[in-house]
Amino acid sequence: MSNQSGKSFGHKPAIVSLVAALSCAGAGHALASRPTAVTNTGGADLSARIAALGERIEAIDPALVRDLPDLTNIAQWRNR
């Protein structure tokens, strides 16, 4: 697990997560509460879909992409 926050005794921090950040950022765009929808991605290349997604998220809040933690591109061992 990558979360290293809040290890001090007796201290319980708020959960900080990318999902929470996206929900918060998306709230102004009326996105976070939208029900799951089927997107029109028929046959689209995985790279193209992910690139388009990144652009949309960056447009919503550039900081979400700019301030990613350093270790997000490392697949970590599952029992940490």
């Binding site: 979360n3 959960i15 998306g26 929808a37 697949a75």
Partner: protein, 400 residues
């Protein structure tokens, strides 16, 4: 420089030190991969001192190192030993190196003294809980056949009473896929705020998995889809490791690297001083084609000695060819990094192969579902074609 090199001196890369305080486990889970879990031997402080020396002198360190006490039940070794062990490592670490100790435990032996130690040492704590009692006790039993759920939940409440954050790792079996809502509600009602999903793997002493059956992948996909939907709708209640890490990887400008297939990103040391790298589970594994995977010993080998050994070169070369096979053949490679060697070995019989059940379930399906979920939530309204009705969720129920 050897043909397959991890010690190129360019990038500090050792991020995880796995130390096996004992191979012993005080319970006997049905899906456990550890063949030696009845062995009550323990690591000595002399062995730990040598292991620390090998790591601290390696030149592979950045400013942070996770130390995972694993490959047996870590709390089966007396607390007094860890007091000395943590002090020893603290005393000998380079001044610019920060250590985080990590304990993933079944919780059976966790008491107030342990809680105070975990707080004092600022350790990262994980409990292994497979959900409600009927699910958990199906597989996580004592050697006498008794369930262990009540005791691990007591451990969870103790940590909560002490204000200690912890995560839960749940091993998904076929039966667990039946009701993602029930699993979600279990976590939330019990104040479990971080969860990671492992799967029942074909690995080591566990030669079969209920998830290898025909038709499971579609059910696994439905489980992930529904659980993520719940987590999306209540991010203040729970943080899901797979959701977080996949979003980060999708948004990262860099290709994903897998620390398990990069030499010396992980170093594992057994209770008796044997060293291995790549997947930590290799430390305790034997395979008909390879034998054991001990690549050296803390008393006689530096990490650079290991690198030049024929056994390391063979394994490293095969793992590298396996990663290259993934790169050539798999459209998920950019967001995976080439998969875990331990799963390739025990599912396909070799390291130089590509797709496994493990990667289909934990990488491909998870990425598919996270991507689809993000697309649905970020697309302009005109791009969506058909809203899928979702089951109404009253999250205020958890406050009542």
């Amino acid at each position: 420089m050897p043909a397959c090199s991890g010690l190129d001196g360019v990038t500090p890369r050792l991020r995880l030190l796995v130390l096996q305080p004992t191979p012993f486990c005080n319970i006997d889970c049905s899906y456990c991969y550890l063949a030696n879990r009845k062995n009550t031997a323990r690591m000595t402080l002399d062995t730990l001192a040598l292991a620390s020396q090998r790591v601290f002198e390696s030149g592979l360190l950045d400013r942070h190192l996770d130390v995972a006490w694993h490959a047996g039940e870590p709390l089966a070794v007396p607390l007094a030993w860890y007091e000395d062990a943590v002090a020893l490592m603290e005393e000998r670490r380079p001044s610019n190196l920060d250590l985080t100790h990590c304990f993933q435990t079944n919780g059976m032996l966790l008491d107030e003294a342990w809680a105070r130690f975990l707080a004092r040492s600022r350790s990262r704590i994980g409990l292994s809980i497979d959900g409600p009692a009927d699910l958990h006790d199906t597989n996580r039993r004592t050697r006498a056949g008794h369930g262990t759920h009540a005791r691990v939940m007591r451990a969870a409440r103790l940590l909560q009473d002490y204000g200690l954050d912890f995560h839960v790792i749940t091993v998904l079996t076929e039966r667990a896929l039946e009701d993602p809502d029930r699993l979600f509600d279990f976590y939330v009602r019990n104040g479990i705020r971080e969860v990671g999903f492992n799967i029942e793997e074909i690995e080591g002493a566990n030669g079969a998995s209920s998830l290898a059956r025909i038709g499971i992948e579609a059910r696994f996909r439905q489980f992930i889809k529904r659980f993520f939907e719940r987590a999306w709708q209540a991010p203040e209640l729970i943080k899901v490791r797979e959701l977080e890490s996949t979003i980060g990887q999708l948004l990262s400008p860099e290709p994903v690297r897998d620390e398990q297939n990069r030499p010396f990103a992980v170093l594992s040391v057994s209770h008796d001083g044997k060293m291995s790298t790549f997947s930590p589970e290799l430390l305790d594994a034997r395979h008909p084609g390879y034998g054991a995977f001990a690549l050296g010993h803390v008393a006689t080998h530096s990490l650079s000695n290991i690198e030049s050994s024929p056994q390391f070169q063979q394994i490293c070369g095969e793992i590298r060819r396996g990663v290259e096979a993934c790169e050539r053949s798999c459209r998920y490679y950019r967001w995976c990094g080439g998969g875990a060697p331990i799963n390739k070995l025990f599912e396909t019989g070799a390291f130089d192969t590509s797709e496994t059940m493990h990667c289909r379930l934990t990488r491909q399906i998870v990425l598919d579902e996270v991507l689809a979920g993000l697309e649905a939530r970020t697309a302009p309204p005109q791009m969506t074609t058909a809203a899928v009705p979702t089951t109404p969720i009253d999250h205020n129920q958890y406050l009542r």
